[in-house]
């Protein structure tokens, strides 16, 4: 009869004999086919005294003050601004699947997740190539939303121009993209897309006006309007596809890149509730020094509605200068935004300017602390009051998984 120690020795021998695949120093690790990422942004905020548009107030920043019996009052509060889950998968035939959902309680009015992106993408080629993308997506016209999970990269709040592009446009689209590097060192690119969904595009600009923020669109989301209604972001009524294009030219080192975009929702004004909205935008990204980013972008467009009560023209511009070194980034931006009332119906005109200064410090990949101050001056005659106080600050901690 074997002793106990002999039994352990036999067990050890059996374990050693199990067909475990040993790691060898020249083996290449297998790539994960499915991956998960996440972002969480929590803040301490102290906006201007005017309550925010998210609370049906006249404020243009994402966080504002409170309504009280004696009028508006500045408040300091802690908020959870973004909770993002991203899931990606490498499918057969080199197809990439990507899903992003965002929780933004103050904008959504509840904790329901919005589907910001759900796409399949396939590319052919590398330096010179061609790609197809299909699914639900925002449009790639923002020069600021290039951070993790489409967050603004340079400031906490994006410019008025890009806040609108990323809050109200969500299309179920098919998009083709071509990119090419010439022998002379020029980088060229073109996107052409068509899709459904933005039949009420610019309704928020006419009824509420421009705002500065970092809320992200969702195909199942809706936005609050000053009259207490909510407007659906994805609302296909006329079954006519929107079309858009985005053209790029720049040098190979991306020291200077010029981008031009055009979007037309092709709305049928004979269909109830459909807006006919089109706009063009041109922007440049310059890197005069490796540590400096200089971005300018301009947008102009028109929005028409069948009953001719809210026809409006809109234009916006910003110039942003950012300096970064290691994990530190300081940015300052000037914003200008206008809406012109093009009919004799409801008053939609407004004008505004803002200066935003932000400082970020990244600690490794996962942690970012940020501070932002916004000086904002806007005038909207249809608003009560037309010139509310709106300057305010935000302190943000962002965790990225």
């Amino acid at each position: 009869m074997p002793s106990v120690s002999a039994g352990y020795a036999l067990l050890l021998l059996l374990c050693c004999a199990l067909p475990i695949r040993a790691w060898a120093q020249y083996d290449v690790e297998d790539e994960q086919r499915v991956w998960l990422r996440g972002v969480m942004d929590v803040r301490v905020v102290r906006g201007g005294a005017a309550p925010s548009w998210t609370d049906l107030g006249p404020g243009k920043t994402r966080y504002g003050g409170d309504f009280t019996e004696s009028g508006f009052e500045r408040v300091t509060r802690g908020v959870m601004s973004q909770l993002v889950i991203e899931v990606g998968a490498a499918l057969p035939a080199g197809i990439r699947a990507q899903l992003q959902v965002n929780v933004q309680p103050d904008i959504a009015g509840d904790w329901d997740p919005w589907v910001t992106e759900a796409v399949l993408r396939k590319e052919w080629g590398a330096e010179n190539g061609f790609g197809l993308q299909a699914g639900v997506m925002g449009i790639p016209f923002s020069l600021e939303h290039v951070g993790p999970a489409w967050a603004p990269e340079y400031t906490i709040s994006a410019s008025a121009l890009n806040s609108w592009l990323w809050e109200e446009i969500s299309v179920a689209a098919l998009e083709a993209e071509w990119w090419h590097l010439t022998k002379g060192g020029l980088k060229l690119g073109a996107i052409i897309g068509a899709g459904f969904g933005p039949d009420q595009l610019a309704r928020v600009l006419a009824l509420r006006g421009w705002v500065l923020g970092d809320g992200l669109t969702g195909v199942n989301g809706d936005l609050p309007l000053p009259n207490g209604e909510r407007t659906e972001i994805f609302d296909e009524r006329d079954d006519r596809p929107a079309a858009y294009t985005w053209l790029t030219i720049g040098d190979a080192g991306e020291r200077a890149t010029l981008r031009v975009g055009y979007f037309d929702n092709n709305g049928d004004q004979d269909t109830a509730g459909v807006w006919n909205t089109h706009f063009g935008t041109v922007g440049a990204v310059l890197h005069p020094h490796p540590r400096i980013d200089l971005i300018v972008q301009y947008l102009t467009g028109e929005a028409r509605i069948g009953d001719r009560t809210n026809d409006s023209s809109m234009r916006a511009f910003y110039a942003l200068l950012s300096h970064h070194r290691r994990g530190h980034r300081f940015s300052v931006r000037y914003d200008e935004f206008r809406v012109e009332d093009d009919d004799q119906g409801n008053p939609t005109a407004e004008r505004g300017d803002a200066i935003t200064a932000a400082y970020f410090v990244e600690l490794g990949l996962r942690h970012r602390f940020g501070f932002e101050y916004v000086w904002l001056d806007s005038h909207r005659p249809s608003r009560v009051p037309p010139d509310p106080p709106q300057d305010g600050w935000q302190l943000s901690y962002r965790f990225r998984y």
Binding site: W23, A24, Q25, Y26, D27, V28, E29, D30, E31, R33, W35, G88, A90, G94, I95, R96, Q98, R121, K122, E123, G125, A126, E127, G129, G131, Q133, P140, H145, V146, G147, P148, A149, W150, A151, E177, W178, W179, G189, I191, W246, T248, G253, E254, R255, R259, V285, H287, P290, R291, D293, H324, R326, G327, E362, G364, L365
Partner: protein, 215 residues
């Protein structure tokens, strides 16, 4: 007479040794299971106990257009590798490989310090921002290696004569290195050695190029 035989034997041994130690070349071709040339394969001497650290040596793996360039970088053990970021966006280079674990937090330009590769083996490198970016540092025991060209051809020059273990490696080859290793006897001159490496399909994450940069 015995002394003469002994002298001749010593002379023969000396001549033989001299011939065996003369620097020679090995050339050949690496092909896949279908007989097509395999580019970017690395052929190297993998003699046991031959590891020779290259003190002071340095190499570069760039990041250009959200791609590691070159995608496979063979270096000799002891080499310091720089990871300059030529893009206008940040990258966060890291590796969790057993051969070398390191992390270069978000940076642009040439802000990141070089990384010392002090163990032989494969180090898979990635970017934590752009998940499809993937590169490999192949840390080799000595400087006797060559990378195959577009036709799968290679030439190893200046190889000492004698008996060697010659191995072929490729990022998409899932077999053991021992399976590809050939014992070669190198005299004076050129030796031709060919390899057949069955390759798996590339398994990297699909990239996002063009204007739709993945954040």
């Amino acid at each position: 007479m015995h002394r003469l035989i002994l002298l001749l034997a010593i002379l023969a041994l000396a001549v033989g040794t001299t011939v065996a130690q003369a620097a020679s070349s090995i050339s050949g071709r690496v092909v896949n299971a279908e007989g097509q040339g395999v580019p970017q394969a690395v052929v190297f001497l993998n003699d046991p106990g031959s590891a020779t650290a290259a003190s002071g040596a340095s190499a570069e793996m760039d990041q250009i257009n959200k791609t590691f360039v070159p995608g496979v970088l063979p270096v000799v053990v002891g080499t310091r590798v720089h990871f300059p970021n030529r893009d206008q966006i940040h990258h966060h280079v890291y590796s969790f490989s057993r051969t070398k674990t390191f992390e270069l937090p978000l940076y642009k330009g040439e802000d990141a310090p070089p990384v010392l590769f002090d163990k032989v083996g494969v180090v898979k490198v990635g970017c934590n921002i752009h998940d499809w970016m993937s590169g490999i540092i192949l840390v080799l025991p000595n400087a006797h290696y060559a990378v195959t060209d577009a036709e799968g051809r290679f030439t190893l020059s200046g190889v000492p004569g004698g008996s060697h273990a010659l191995a072929a490696w490729h990022a998409q080859h899932r077999g053991k290195l021992d399976d590809t290793t050939q014992r070669v006897e190198l005299g004076d001159g050129l030796l031709e050695v060919n390899f057949t490496l069955p390759l798996d399909a590339a398994s990297g994450r699909p990239a996002v190029s063009g204007a739709r940069k993945e954040p």
